[in-house]
Symmetry: C2
Subunit: 289 residues, 2 copies
Amino acid sequence: MSSGASAGHVAAPTGSSSGGEVAANDAPQSIFNFVSVATVQTPFRDRRGTPRQGSVAPLSRGTVVFHPHIVSPAALDNLQQFSHAWVLFVFHENTNARGLEGKKGAGRPTTFRAKISPPRLGGPKVGVFSTRSPHRPNPIGLTMVRILGVQGHHLHVSGLDLVDGTPVLDVKPVVPYDVPDGLAVPEWVLEGDKERRRVTWSRAAQLALHALFERRGARASRFYDNPQALSEAAAQVLAQDIRGVHQGRGSASDGGGCGGAAYECVFDGLRLLFVHADGAVIVQDVVVA
Amino acid sequence: MSSGASAGHVAAPTGSSSGGEVAANDAPQSIFNFVSVATVQTPFRDRRGTPRQGSVAPLSRGTVVFHPHIVSPAALDNLQQFSHAWVLFVFHENTNARGLEGKKGAGRPTTFRAKISPPRLGGPKVGVFSTRSPHRPNPIGLTMVRILGVQGHHLHVSGLDLVDGTPVLDVKPVVPYDVPDGLAVPEWVLEGDKERRRVTWSRAAQLALHALFERRGARASRFYDNPQALSEAAAQVLAQDIRGVHQGRGSASDGGGCGGAAYECVFDGLRLLFVHADGAVIVQDVVVA
């Protein structure tokens, strides 16, 4: 649907000190205030180790927890009749704070970069609006989740590729007219999808994980009932080569035959220690984070 | 991708005068400020006559005009390599202003209704988050367009179902992982799609449209080169039965055999006068709006 009176918006000055260059039919920008309606709970504590998209880690579970003082459970009625939902969220951990906090910078041009280097392109720059980069004029993200169920003001989902604690602006059902007719994208968008790696768990890591579940019971995991379910979900995440490019992401040698560097990431409250060897990922140990 | 330092966000008080009912792990809501980066130009002057989704009116053309003082053309580079884009926009004509304007209501619960009656359900209410209704806690909309081309800071598109002048928060390319695997929606979501009507132009209306193009030349239309292209696009819009329910939308009789009521809508600066008769729509005259 479409636009339909003023919703918390304040017309802003053009803010250009040189001024006067705005064409007659170009409306000046406006400032809009939005409030978070929910916060997500996910297994991902840091940006590192968070999938770049949820569809590559469909076993990654999460919960959208609506703020009970502003959203009543009735607002979630019928949502479980849909298989999928869009989550509109705020990239709250962006490192390029925009200077729009409070009224301080209201109306001033933002300082985003017009062109960025997507990780999967490995060098060349493209226009920021041709990417899903978090570093954009308004740090709003869009991600699709599969709906598992609704309980009170909790929306349980899978495939949620967000850092634990991410603020949510909106949830919308996915509907048939969201599916494009004749979708085409440039080749570079597909590049990153090729770098999936095989993930195996060492015997020591398997034993450590089982021991954790035996010792801690339901406290072992917020999202998974048993070691198998957790390790399969974690494997989907590690298959994406979560190392930074400076750490060797995309390199064929994986640090050579001398054992390779050890890496770690936190998944669902557990610290996973792993190495890359022969193009595969080996989880070597698991400890409580 | 996922969350990545604080982007213009201000932690807000919970704002509940009764207070103290927020569970320990429920983060309080935060207020975020966003700025419009563009404004759309479309043939749709009013909410009435604007398609409820762009895919039913693929011939409806539009332009996303980025604000030149905050977005350089380089930010749009590469966007033309994609077939489709998401437009995140503000429902700026909502009739339920949210009281969040300026700091006045910052941190106070919003006054949206938890349940609403979708037009296509014709009575029963559903939870607002299970709808794409504009009347939601944050009046942010999401719509998909087909990319026709980029010229400077103009993004030319088709299938844009927004009122002329709608502010835009973001544009993102549609990528393969936006396509859901095994999409399912409840039956009531599909109901509205059945009510497409045949649209015909009276001889008088055709002559009037041609005369307008001959008299006004390029000023006849912002989006269409000739009368044929404009009338086909307008027909896609009128096929959706844009009358309000109180005006007879969905009624079989169309006001009976006594001629029926006349309606009008503005499309691309032209006032279209039409009637419903025998389940079809007949455009009777066209005048400059």
